[in-house]
Symmetry: C2
Subunit: 153 residues, 2 copies
DNA sequence: GTTTAATATTGTAATGGTTACAAATATGAG
DNA sequence: CTCATATTTGTAACCATTACAATATTAAAC
């Protein structure tokens, strides 16, 4: 028997309307997460920038606006979001966890030169040998050279 | 345009004949890797056990037979094998790198309870949006509960 | 068989992302 | 306002991996 998994929805586009803080607060509340200012800003960064940042990148960016924020809060909050299943953790490289608030099924491509992570649309995927396995997470990670780094070469 | 990737070959079966040290030595030689005893034993473990071990698991097992072996040698050797492209590194979890000497295209399933890593056959995979991307590595990682751990629950 | 240069291995210190934890702060109910 | 609870902070600890310098082994040349 073969398990057939298809992309259900379109990935978010750069042109999609960004979420505002009110919407984010409402969303976090629905998920049983009290919408503190830090949590709002961290989720806002993830959902609107969609650059698959590391915890440290989020910390560095938010520190400009919220100088008192601490690294521990960023890590705590990201773990909370993951536990509540509103973000996924990407372990493309073993020395850096990246975070993604887009939960629709898609893959990732990391450029080995510039380090950028791109979304990849998965048209279809068929697996076999998974009868009686309970699949809770799926990750498709590609590595290589992105178009602009291919040229540099 | 859609990139279509299919499994080219069957995965190794448990019943396949294990490699002996002579064959491994010959193989390493062909790859330009001098077949020292430690390298032979590390590759033997990877190719014949196929349990996707961590560096430390390999170290602990080989230490019984080669008490003088050091962790650094295991790490050095695994990195050498990866650089020479005869093993792949699995970053299913960010806190542990696992090694796999099977290079035919297949996925991995890690059980969140017992921690075991199983091979998954990929019947087909279609991706889009990768024009002009140069794909050098592909990883499909699943997590969940394996059949026996599903029952325990 | 020695010498010599190159390669492999070892033990340990350092690295760096992440987590643990206890203290300090903020929040919300009564 | 006060208390109990939840959040945030700063720092120390953790731990897999890497760096590195010293030692040992190998292979080739003599």
């Amino acid at each position: 028997m073969v398990t057939n998994m298809r992309a259900q929805t379109k990935l978010r586009e750069k042109t999609d309307k960004p979420w505002n803080l009110d919407e984010i607060g409402q969303f976090l509340g629905q998920q049983g997460i009290r919408p503190s200012f830090h949590r709002l800003k961290i989720f806002e960064y993830l959902i609107n920038e969609r650059t698959h940042p590391t915890a440290d990148e989020i910390y560095e960016v938010l520190k400009k606006e919220i100088p008192a924020i601490s690294r521990a809060t960023v890590y705590n909050t990201l773990r909370l979001f993951f536990d509540r299943k509103i973000v996924q953790v990407l372990n493309i490289e073993k020395n850096e966890a990246r975070y993604d608030a887009t939960l629709t099924w898609h893959g990732h491509f990391k450029c080995l030169l510039c380090g950028q992570v791109y979304d990849v649309e998965i048209e279809s995927l068929e697996l076999s040998g998974l009868d009686n396995y309970q699949v809770l997470e799926k990750h498709l990670d590609l590595k290589g050279l992105c178009p602009s780094c291919s040229h540099k070469k």
